[in-house]
Amino acid sequence: MTVESTAARKPRRSSTKRVSAKKAQPSEPELVQLLTPEGERVEHPDYAIDLTPDEMLGLYRDMVLTRRFDAEATSLQRQGELGLWASLLGQEAAQIGSGRALRDDDYVFPTYREHGVAWCRGVDPTNLLGMFRGVNHGGWDPNTNNFHLYTIVIGSQTLHATGYAMGVAKDGADSAVIAYFGDGASSQGDVAESFTFSAVYNAPVVFFCQNNQWAISEPTERQTRVPLYQRAQGFGFPGVRVDGNDVLACLAVTRSALERARRGEGPTLVEAFTYRMGAHTTSDDPTKYRADEEREAWEAKDPILRLRTYLENEGFADEAFFTELEAESETLGKRVREAVRAMPDPDQMAIFENVYADGHALVDEERAQFAEYQASFAEAASSEKGN
């Protein structure tokens, strides 16, 4: 099979409906792969991985449950329970592979789509839904699981991750930091600045770019003319492109980058070459800009299917495993559904909570005025009743 790199595609007039050029091929020399789309184990000279069958079953389970959670959230949005949802459909391997490479003391800086990484960190998935339901702007304590709040402003968190990593290095700790972002984000100034800082200060940070081929309607070639992982070179640190639909390769490559960071050798850029199978968010309509065939081509590379094929072929999993997992998925779906429906609207006074850590006279004044104003309705209502 032939390969066309992003650079080689060179569309003068970007025609986003072209399909063939986007295929990541197993034979592509720059793409680290350990499990082919057909479910065959292949070796890579630099990224060996040795997992027990149980560990592989664990990865499979993580991916299936994450997908189930994601599907549940999508349908909850459709039912009006969530205001918005950013689905990770298709990106399970990138997230679970990288997420399972982390140690507990590592720190994660996600975007708004890292539900699988959150899963690996032990964040209760129902906690992720508050901001999408509109009851809060975050909803978890980042320090409980070393998993920072979701970041909506594109690229901002890469600088936070870098600064955090600089702090880790100053402390003499050997933990590492990982920053997630998209191919679109790679265009932001903040991301370039985070590359500069992390290189200059040799910060123990791994930049994990999920290149899912699209930034809303804009294809990756609208952000870059070289493969993204090659950006790193110009900043003075290594970049590597991994098959983002191959959970084993994502695990191996991220693990190696984290180890490098721990050894004090500085940042690495990992580009997970993957695909956003659904819409950008539930507000988006991908039929406006992308061809069905493209999605179909990527469905053939489904991260979950390929691991399943492998597990079955090797005899690592029997029917009972899959049946049990199916039941577990259903339980998770039900739990999420119930938790969301039970999620109360915040108290009105929450508007004034936590604006400042030390308090602020103006906020106190406005809070009191607002309380009095709201109380006036209750008074009016009760005096009407009295009449």
Binding site: S14, M131, G134, V153, G189, F352, Y373
Partner: protein
């Protein structure tokens, strides 16, 4: 006469279309403005008809969008750029404030930067954070920028024409929760000046001054007050920099009372500027202090609380009552 009933978003779309047709130097730039037509479809169909050289999907980089628009303007183009949402203008804020706003003055008037920056702003659509903010005061505070906001389809159409024709940078705030409101647009009318306020409803007891999304709320408040026998005048300011103080003064001299309404936080907001100026100009006419209704000194809350946060009919009427009680 050619009158059409258009939603506000479509009126802007038609206005951009007309600008692209009449001036070959006009360019549209921004994230997703091409094939998708923008996340609110304001630029829908324009790339199809004018091509990728005129309607440009940009990389996802706001500083880059505004910075290159400045360069294109230096080269004689008239870029109209879209910032996808209010909360995402800040990566570009440096370029807008330190460069765009000041080059004309620095060049002793030799450089003109006819750049329009379109920003869908304000709340009320149940969005996640950074999608509902009203940062207009942050721009109005900067000399060298003009800041406007239409409240209806007709103004949206005409003010966009005028903004594009202006040789100054214009920050064009589009009230996103009004995008789907329909109103008549006369595409052959002769519009009033860009920065002139409009009396949206005549009245004699009190003046409500608003712009953008809050004009409709004030009109509803005036209608409700009328049922209680109160006659409120509603001003649609249309421009936050400059502000048409003459129109406000004329109205306040008649009514003796002013309530300024906006979604943005009250503290250091445009209402503060208006209150101070009108107090200077109309001190002896005022029957009550100028009151302000707006957002709190708190981050824009999650969607389930925005009803409480945004000034609605009740909060406006409450301020009206307080003013009339003096």
């Amino acid at each position: 006469m050619s009158v059409q009933k258009l939603p506000l978003a479509k009126a802007i779309n038609e206005s951009l279309r007309k600008a692209l047709e009449t001036d070959p130097k006009v360019l549209i730039m921004g994230e997703d403005v091409g094939k998708l037509g923008g996340v609110f479809r304001v630029t829908d169909g324009l790339q199809k008809d004018f091509g990728e050289e005129r309607v440009i999907d940009t990389p996802l980089a706001e500083s880059g969008i505004v910075g290159t628009a400045i360069g294109l303007a230096l080269r004689g183009y008239r870029p109209v750029v879209e910032i996808q949402f209010d909360g995402f203008v800040f990566p570009a804020y440096d370029q807008i404030v330190t460069q765009l706003a000041k080059m004309h003055a620095r060049s002793l008037g030799k450089i003109k930067l006819p750049v329009v920056i379109r920003i869908p702003y304000g709340g009320g659509i149940g969005a996640v954070e950074h999608h509902s903010e009203s940062p207009e005061a942050l721009f109005a505070h900067v000399a060298g920028l003009k800041v406007v906001s239409p409240s209806n389809s007709s103004d949206a159409y005409w003010m966009m024409q005028q903004a594009i024709q202006s040789d100054d940078p214009v920050i064009f705030f589009e009230p996103k929760r009004r995008y789907w409101d329909k109103a008549e647009v006369d595409v052959e009318a002769i519009p009033g000046p860009l920065h002139k306020a409009r009396v949206a409803r005549a009245g004699s007891d009190l003046t409500l001054a608003a712009y953008g999304p809050m004009v409709k709320v004030c009109q509803e408040a005036a209608a409700a007050a009328e049922e209680e026998g109160k006659s409120l005048e509603v001003l649609d300011l249309r421009s936050m920099s400059p502000i048409d103080f003459d129109t406000i003064q004329t109205s306040v001299e008649k009514t003796g009372r002013l309530v300024v309404v906006h979604e943005a936080p009250v503290f250091y907001g445009s209402g503060a500027e208006i209150a101070a100026r009108i107090t200077e100009r109309c001190f002896y006419h005022l029957e009550a202090p100028v009151l302000r209704v707006g957002g709190f000194h708190a981050p824009y809350p999650p969607a389930r609380l925005e009803e409480e946060y945004l000034p609605g009919l009740d909060r406006v009427l409450d301020a009206v009552d307080r003013s009339l009680a003096y």
